[in-house]
């Protein structure tokens, strides 16, 4: 495969053709904030937190779905990018009901971590306080729609790692939400294999092991990566 040369934050970089800007940055040790990206599954560009500036392109581009190109000049940090990341995060918080103090993921949540690492000290938008429920019909797992950021990580692992196709997205706009099978209670789903990959994939407190209380929902992302590596490379290795 042909190699492409580009610069990220002024640093000259060589990346394989077809690689994303996010992969190229990662290999060069440059950290770009992400939320919907999950190692091991394909990217969809849903959250817009990984936006970067590319010289010659007026709009901001998501690093996770933009392919590297010869001579590309990428900027991952600027006043403008920080401004948009703040806006994106604040809108995510305003859209659902995030009450960190009583959330299963408190202290282990990617949204919460992003918020403080991007300097979000308050939300400037009016909170919507929508009415969403919690589905606890499954024997092992629960889904709290109040905490969902619609990253679709659960949908992607369910379809493309587990191959069950239980999880899906229904509705439009602020009424978009995650469903199981034909929008039935999770516990009544025939297709769910109860593998728990969606729970491992979820960045927030939206999917949890039943019985976890405030701050108890920790995940082991390594498990998903292990399965994907084993399948694709026939290597049964863990990251550490």
């Amino acid at each position: 495969m042909a190699a492409k040369t580009l610069t990220i934050d002024g640093k000259p970089i060589t990346a394989e053709e077809g690689a994303t800007v996010l992969q190229a940055a990662d290999e060069a040790g440059i950290k770009i904030p992400t939320l919907c990206h999950l190692d091991g599954v394909y990217d969809v560009g849903a959250c817009r937190l990984c936006l970067v500036e590319v010289t010659g392109v007026a709009k901001l581009l998501p690093a996770c779905t933009t392919r590297v190109a010869e001579g590309m000049e990428v900027k991952t940090d600027s006043e403008r990018l920080r401004k948009y990341r703040r806006i994106t995060l604040e809108l995510l918080f305003a859209e659902r009901n995030h009450v960190c103090a009583v959330c299963v993921a408190n202290g282990h949540c990617e949204l919460q971590t992003l918020a403080y690492s991007q300097g979000m000290d308050h939300v400037r938008y009016e909170y919507l306080f929508p009415k969403w429920g919690v589905d606890t019909t499954h024997r092992l797992f629960g889904m709290d729609h109040n905490r969902c950021v619609l990253c679709t990580r659960c949908v992607r692992v369910c379809w493309h790692v587990e191959g069950a196709g239980t999880k899906n997205v229904a509705g439009r706009g602020t009424r978009s939400h995650i469903i199981t099978d034909l929008a039935m209670p999770w516990g009544e789903s025939d297709s769910c294999t109860q593998c728990g990959k969606c729970v491992q994939a979820c960045p927030t407190g939206a999917l949890f092991h039943k019985g976890s209380t405030t701050g108890e929902m920790e995940r082991d992302r390594g498990k998903l990566e292990f399965i994907v590596t084993a399948r694709e490379k026939k290597q049964w290795v863990t990251a550490d």
Partner: protein, 181 residues
């Protein structure tokens, strides 16, 4: 001149004030630098004029909260939203999910449905304040200068922000010091 400091408790659990008391020996340094002119821990009935800094705990839940808040804004140079209830409306705002018009249903639930003895909604005009339709974070009602998140903010975080203010630098919390929850 000592800094005229107020601390106020709106719709919150008093946990943020407990965390303030957790400042331990820093409280002794504080006494040299500030005069506490109004607070749940001092016995002053009326919010005074010319307050330099006011730490506000709690969300804006009822008419009294709102009235006091407007008074505070008029009489205070710097307002700090103190803790998650003030910053995000947090737990008190969970009732907002029930939609506007939840005032009656939450009172019904708390004082009638789940009451063991004497089920009745407390009602005394001029004494028991009316709930607002919608619980708000402080900055939705008045302008706020600084934010101190946390449920409650750990004492070290309070110390960091208050310390910065007293030493005359622009207060700025970063990284995990901004963690909610």
């Amino acid at each position: 001149m000592k800094v005229r400091l107020a601390t106020v408790w709106l719709g919150g659990c008093s946990g943020c004030h407990m965390s303030f008391l957790d400042l331990d020996e820093f409280l002794i340094d504080l006494v040299d630098a500030v005069e506490i002119v109004y607070s749940p821990v001092v016995d002053v009935k009326e919010y005074p004029e010319n307050v330099d800094v006011c730490l506000i705990e709690g969300a804006v839940c009822n008419e009294d909260n709102l009235e006091l808040l407007h008074k505070i804004r008029q009489r205070t140079k710097v307002i700090v939203s103190f803790g998650d209830c003030a910053v995000t409306a947090n737990v008190p705002a969970i009732r907002n999910q029930l939609g506007l018009g939840n005032r009656e249903s939450v009172l019904q639930h708390a004082y009638i449905t789940n009451a063991q003895d004497n089920p009745s909604v407390p009602k005394a005009d001029g004494i028991v304040p009316q709930l607002l339709e919608r619980v708000m974070p402080v900055h939705e009602a008045v302008h706020v200068e600084y934010f101190l998140p946390g449920c409650p903010p750990p004492a070290a975080r309070i110390k960091a922000l208050v310390g910065q203010m007293l030493s005359g630098v622009e207060p700025k919390l970063e990284g995990t010091q901004l963690k909610f929850g």
